[in-house]
């Protein structure tokens, strides 16, 4: 007998629309057949403890991965990862990647004619502490054009990849910056059609976490799926 306490379905207002034609590469890549509800088993409620043996403390400071200082505005990005019930997600890998201050990725397929910064790669990792907290030092990324439609620009963002204890909690998202004038025009951001849900992707300026004479700080709390209150009936 194996009673499993599954994870709650993500509520529709917290999920991107499906399909979402305003994002040009979406309609040809999303399934047409309905997604089937899968009652969770041991296979779903378990998940990898990944990255712990390879993360180094310096991976969380993206401004110190090369010989010199990267150009741009140095920032602290920190927050807490928890589940829907407010329980901290402890000892869990966070991966992030981003463009540099000029809006250019080191990725070879990025053809935006903005300068690459030899002192900035833009990838970082860390493990959350016992209270679910994490902290990165990085450079504020620039906006960049992306040809989705005429004069399309992505608002500045940092990509986040998150695990949690169950593989079903796995989340890849993007953190945005408060007050970005590009928000109304970005189909990826607006694929989340609920305004309150979109706000959950926007970091908050955090004066208390700012380091005087050094770096501004932004707080980004992350909420992963929580569990069903009781095991589902078979």
């Amino acid at each position: 007998m194996s009673d499993v306490n599954g994870y709650r379905i993500v509520s529709p207002d917290s999920a991107p629309a499906h399909p979402y034609p305003d994002y040009r590469s979406n309609p040809i890549r999303v399934p047409k057949r309905p997604l089937m509800i899968l009652p969770h088993t041991l296979s779903e409620v378990t998940g990898p403890a990944y990255g712990h043996d390879t993360v180094r403390p310096e991976d969380a400071d993206l401004t110190r991965q090369h010989g010199g200082e990267p150009l741009g505005e140095r920032i602290i990005v920190h927050g807490r990862m928890m589940d829907e019930d407010g329980r901290p997600v402890r000892n869990s890998l966070i991966e992030l990647w981003q463009a540099n201050a000029a809006g250019r990725y080191v990725h070879q397929r990025d053809q935006h004619p903005a300068p690459i910064d030899p002192n900035f790669t833009g990838a970082g990792r860390c493990i959350t502490d016992d209270d679910g907290h994490y902290r990165f030092v990085t450079i504020r990324p620039g906006a960049y054009p992306w040809r989705n439609h005429h004069n399309a620009w992505r608002p500045a963002h940092i990509h986040f990849s998150l695990f949690g204890p169950s593989f079903m909690q796995r989340l890849v998202t993007q953190m945005y910056f408060p007050g970005d004038p590009l928000f109304p025009f970005d189909p990826i951001f607006n694929s989340v059609t609920d305004a309150k849900a979109r706000e959950r992707m926007i970091s908050k300026f955090d004066l208390d976490a700012t380091e005087p004479e050094w770096a501004l700080a932004f707080r980004f709390d992350i909420v992963l799926r929580g569990r069903e209150a009781t095991p589902m009936e078979d």
């Binding site: 007998m1 194996s2 499993v4 993500v10 509520s11 917290s14 999920a15 991107p16 979402y20 994002y23 590469s25 979406n26 309609p27 040809i28 890549r29 999303v30 399934p31 047409k32 057949r33 997604l35 089937m36 509800i37 899968l38 009652p39 088993t41 041991l42 296979s43 409620v45 378990t46 998940g47 990898p48 403890a49 990944y50 390879t54 019930d85 991966e95 990647w97 990725y105 080191v106 990725h107 397929r109 990025d110 790669t121 990838a123 990509h159 990849s161 204890p165 593989f167 079903m168 989340l171 890849v172 993007q174 694929s191 989340v192 979109r198 959950r200 992707m201 909420v223 992963l224 078979d234």
Partner: protein, 188 residues
Amino acid sequence: MSKTTPSQTVGPFFHFGLTDNYEIDDLAGEAAEGERIVIEGHVYDGDGAPVPDCMIEIWQANAAGKYDHPEDRQDKPVDLNFAGFGRVGTDPEGRFHFRTVRPGPVAGRGNALQAPHIVVQIFARGLLQQLFTRVYLEGEPLNDTDPVLNMIEDHAARSSLIARNKGDGHYHWDIVLQGEGETQFFAG
């Protein structure tokens, strides 16, 4: 209760953050217990074109059918040489492959036993949220009674989750995001 942070696409530029340095295409290595298997295939979009900028992650039990996770309380041994997690990016032709061990059967809901399977997630530019599915292995006797496979009534959808046995431990499994031969995906 807090509300979940919405998903956003992994985009086209994830490789330098996720797969260039942190790919795991060989889960088995030299020391893990169990029979070695290789699962390889392509990812295709709704036009039948290969998807070259896709990341695939897998999670599976070890050869004894045990997950390396505190919530797996089955009375089976953990294999210290098998973590059960894999991650690869597709190549320019949309191909992927994993080398792993044949997973053992694990407990299902109630008194059911699940056929050996691997949990799969697919991330790509164009996908605002990852896709969830499973892959089973052709010829496994427990496939006929597996509760998840039997939940799928449509024959083509059901067989989309079964990797074809090519012999010598090699299995072929294509992931079709949309259209003819579309893989059955789960709500996660």
